[in-house]
C-alpha cells in the first residue's frame, strides 16, 4: 500500500466536531464526560486515550489580515481538528518495550491492543502529548489512522464525516503538494500568517498528519520544534557509563584502603 496521510486545514474547519463523533462511533471509544471547560466551545480540551480527534477553538485578537468572523473589534475564530501526528520518527514506537506499537504498511503508527501491557513509557515519550493510558482499561490508546477501514479501501471515519473537507485523507505526496499550494493560495488571499505545520527539520523528521494553520503552532499546543526522545539516548547513556565507572573506582578505593 502507499504512504497515507491526513491534511487537516484550520482555514476550512467549521468546528462541528463531526470528526470527534465519527471517530468515537467507529472505534467504539468511551465518551469524554460532560464538562464545561470555559475555553470557547472546546469542552474536549486535549487528545487522550479516549479522544483521538480533538477540535480546538481559538479566539484570536487578530489585527492584521482578513477576519474569519468580522465584528466591531479585531477578532477571529479559528478551529482545528487535532490528531495523532503519525511521526516519521515516532517517540512512542521507539519507546515501546513490548513491540506493541508498530509501523504499518501505510507508514502510520499503530498500537496493537492485544500486545500492549500498559507500561506507560509511550505516554512520556510522545513529544506531542497524544498517546495516553486509559486508567479503566490499563492499556495505552491513540488514533489508529482507521487502519481497519484503510485495509478495506475506506477512508478514516473522521475524514469521511468531515462536511467541509477540512480533514483530507490520501496519498502522502499528493497531500503534501496540496498543503503547499493551499498555503500559497492563502498567502495570496491575504492570510499572511498561514503556514504548514510539518516539523521536518527536527529529529521527528516530518509527520503523516500535517496541518494548515493560521498563527503560530504554539496557539494550537503544537510544539514548534519537537524532538523524538531517542536523540537524548547518546548523552544519557554516556553519562550513565562514565558515572558507573567512577562509582566502581570509588568502591574499589574504599574497600582497598580501609
Amino acid at each position: 500500500m502507499t504512504k497515507a496521510a491526513f491534511l487537516t486545514d484550520a482555514t476550512i474547519c467549521i468546528g462541528c466536531k463531526a470528526c470527534e463523533v465519527a471517530c468515537k462511533e467507529w472505534n467504539n471509544v468511551p465518551a469524554d464526560g460532560f464538562e464545561w471547560s470555559g475555553f470557547s466551545y472546546d469542552n474536549t480540551k486535549a487528545l487522550g486515550a479516549s479522544t483521538w480527534r480533538h477540535v480546538m477553538f481559538l479566539e484570536q485578537p487578530q489585527t492584521a489580515g482578513p477576519q474569519i468572523t468580522a465584528t466591531t473589534d479585531p477578532f477571529r475564530w479559528v478551529f482545528l481538528s487535532d490528531v495523532c501526528k503519525h511521526c516519521a520518527n515516532s517517540g512512542c514506537l521507539e519507546a515501546c518495550p513490548t513491540g506493541a506499537i508498530v509501523r504499518t504498511d501505510v507508514e502510520s503508527v499503530h498500537v496493537q491492543a492485544d500486545i500492549c501491557n500498559g507500561c506507560g513509557y509511550c505516554v512520556v515519550s510522545c513529544p506531542f502529548g497524544v498517546i495516553d493510558k486509559n486508567p479503566d482499561d490499563g492499556r495505552a490508546f491513540k488514533c489508529t489512522f482507521c487502519y481497519d477501514r484503510q485495509k478495506v479501501g475506506l477512508m478514516p471515519a473522521c475524514a469521511t464525516a468531515c462536511p467541509t473537507q477540512s480533514i483530507q485523507f490520501g496519498p502522502y505526496d499528493e497531500l503534501q503538494e496540496r498543503a503547499k499550494s493551499r498555503v500559497a493560495e492563502l498567502h495570496q488571499r491575504g492570510y499572511s500568517d498561514a503556514k504548514l505545520y510539518d516539523p521536518k527539520e527536527t529529529s521527528v523528521g516530518g509527520i503523516h498528519a500535517f496541518f494548515v494553520i493560521l498563527g503560530e503552532p504554539e496557539n494550537y499546543n503544537l510544539p514548534p520544534a519537537p524532538e523524538v526522545p531517542t536523540v537524548y539516548l547518546r548523552s544519557a547513556w554516556t553519562s550513565a557509563l562514565i558515572s558507573a565507572v567512577i562509582l566502581f573506582a570509588i568502591v574499589c578505593a574504599a574497600f582497598a584502603l580501609t
Binding site: Y121, D137, E218, N219, A236, A244
Partner: protein, 339 residues
C-alpha cells in the same frame, strides 16, 4: 462538575446565564488572560495553558522500584569488590543477600505498575536498544541471573559444599554483577532522561549519576543499619552524601525555566526536603556524631529517607513539567531542547 441541564429541566435564560458564568469561572481558575471585549480570549504562548504533553502515568511502585533497584544493583557490585579485597565474609554475604532480595522485589514492583500485569512477559518479546524501558527489563533479567547464582554458590559453600566449581560460579557471577548491577542502578536515569518530558530530558546527563550515587549511599546505609559499622561504610556514607550535596547545589542554583518544578509547588517542596535529607543532614550528623553507633544509624536513616523521597519528587516534578506548555515551547524556540 456537570453543568448540563438535567433531563426534563426547562432551559431558561437564567440557566444559560448560570452555565456561562460557570464556564467563565473554570477558565479563570486556569489562569487565562482575558480582555474586556472577549472574555474567553486565549493566551499567545499556548492553547489556553492546557498541558501540551501527557504527565507520567506511573503509580507509586515505579519510584520505589528506582530506589530498590539502585540499592540492589550497587550491592551486587559491592559484593564483588568486597570479596575481591578480602573484606569480612559476613559483609560479602550481606551484600549478596541485599542484591538478591532487591532483584526479587524489582519485578514485583514493575509488574504491579503495569496496566495489564498478566502481560508482563510481553516485555521479553523484543529487545530494543533504543528503548530504555526494554533495555532496563533485560538488564534486570541479566542482573537476577547473576546475583542469584552468586548468592546460591556462596550459601552452598557456607553449608560445607566443597565442589570446586562453586567458587568459580561465585566469582564469575559476582563479576558479572558489577556490570549488570551498575547498569541496573544507572539506567533508571536514562529511562527518565530520554523522554519528551522537558524537566527530565533537560537533566538527562545528571540523572544517571544522581541515581547511582543514591544507590551507593543507600546500600552503604543499609549495611550500617545491619550493624556493619566499619570504616568502609563510613567512607561510602560520606561519599554518597557528599556527591548528593554537590548535585543538590547544581539543582538549587540552576534557574532555567525548565527547572521550575524543582523549586515550586509540591514537587519543589518534596525535592528540597529530599535534598536536605540525603546530603547536608547525613553529612552533618556523620561529622558530629560519626564516631557513635547512634550517629551512624541516624545518618543512614536520613540518607535512605532522602533518597527515597527524591525518587518520588522527580516523578512529581515531571508531572508538573508536563503541564507547562508555554515554558516548553519557549525552550524549543531557543533551541535548548535540541540534543
Amino acid at each position: 462538575m456537570n453543568a448540563l441541564p438535567e433531563p426534563g429541566e426547562r432551559i431558561s435564560e437564567e440557566r444559560l446565564q448560570e452555565i456561562k458564568r460557570m464556564a467563565g469561572e473554570a477558565s479563570l481558575a486556569a489562569g487565562v488572560a482575558k480582555t474586556a471585549a472577549h472574555p474567553q480570549i486565549q493566551g499567545r504562548d499556548s492553547y489556553y495553558g492546557l498541558p501540551g504533553l501527557k504527565p507520567p502515568v506511573w503509580t507509586w511502585e515505579v519510584p520505589l522500584y528506582f530506589f530498590v533497584g539502585g540499592i540492589s544493583g550497587v550491592s551486587g557490585c559491592m559484593a564483588f569488590v568486597a570479596h575481591f579485597f578480602h573484606s569480612d565474609p559476613a559483609l560479602v554475604r550481606a551484600l549478596l543477600w541485599m542484591g538478591f532480595v532487591g532483584s526479587a522485589l524489582c519485578p514485583v514492583l514493575l509488574i504491579a505498575d503495569l496496566g495489564r500485569p498478566a502481560r508482563f512477559l510481553y516485555m521479553l518479546r523484543v529487545f530494543k536498544w533504543r528503548s530504555p524501558m526494554s533495555m532496563g527489563v533485560w538488564i534486570l533479567v541479566a542482573y537476577s541471573l547473576c546475583i542469584t547464582p552468586a548468592l546460591l554458590a556462596h550459601e552452598l559453600m557456607l553449608r560445607g559444599f566443597t565442589w570446586p566449581l562453586l567458587a568459580w560460579v561465585q566469582w564469575s557471577a559476582e563479576g558479572a554483577c558489577v556490570v549488570t548491577g551498575l547498569l541496573l542502578a544507572a539506567y533508571t536515569g536514562v529511562l527518565l532522561g530520554a523522554t519528551a518530558n522537558p524537566l527530565w530530558s533537560a537533566h538527562r546527563r545528571v540523572l544517571p549519576a544522581h541515581f547511582l550515587t543514591s544507590g551507593l549511599g543507600g546500600a552503604s546505609a543499609i549495611l550500617e543499619l545491619m550493624g556493619f559499622l566499619v570504616p568502609v561504610t563510613q567512607v561510602l556514607g560520606f561519599v554518597g552524601a557528599g556527591v548528593e550535596m554537590a548535585l543538590g547545589v547544581i539543582f538549587e542554583t540552576r534557574r532555567r525555566e525548565v527547572d521550575v518544578p524543582l523549586h515550586h509547588g509540591i514537587s519543589g517542596i518534596a525535592f528540597r526536603v529530599a535534598g536536605v535529607l540525603d546530603a547536608p543532614a547525613p553529612l552533618f550528623v556523620r561529622l558530629l556524631w560519626g564516631s557513635m553507633p547512634q550517629g551512624r544509624y541516624a545518618a543512614a536513616i536520613l540518607f535512605l529517607a532522602g533518597s527515597l523521597l527524591s525518587r518520588y519528587a522527580w516523578i512529581w516534578a515531571g508531572r508538573f513539567s508536563a503541564k507547562q506548555p508555554d515554558a516548553e515551547f519557549r525552550r524549543q524556540r531557543t533551541g535548548a531542547a535540541r540534543p
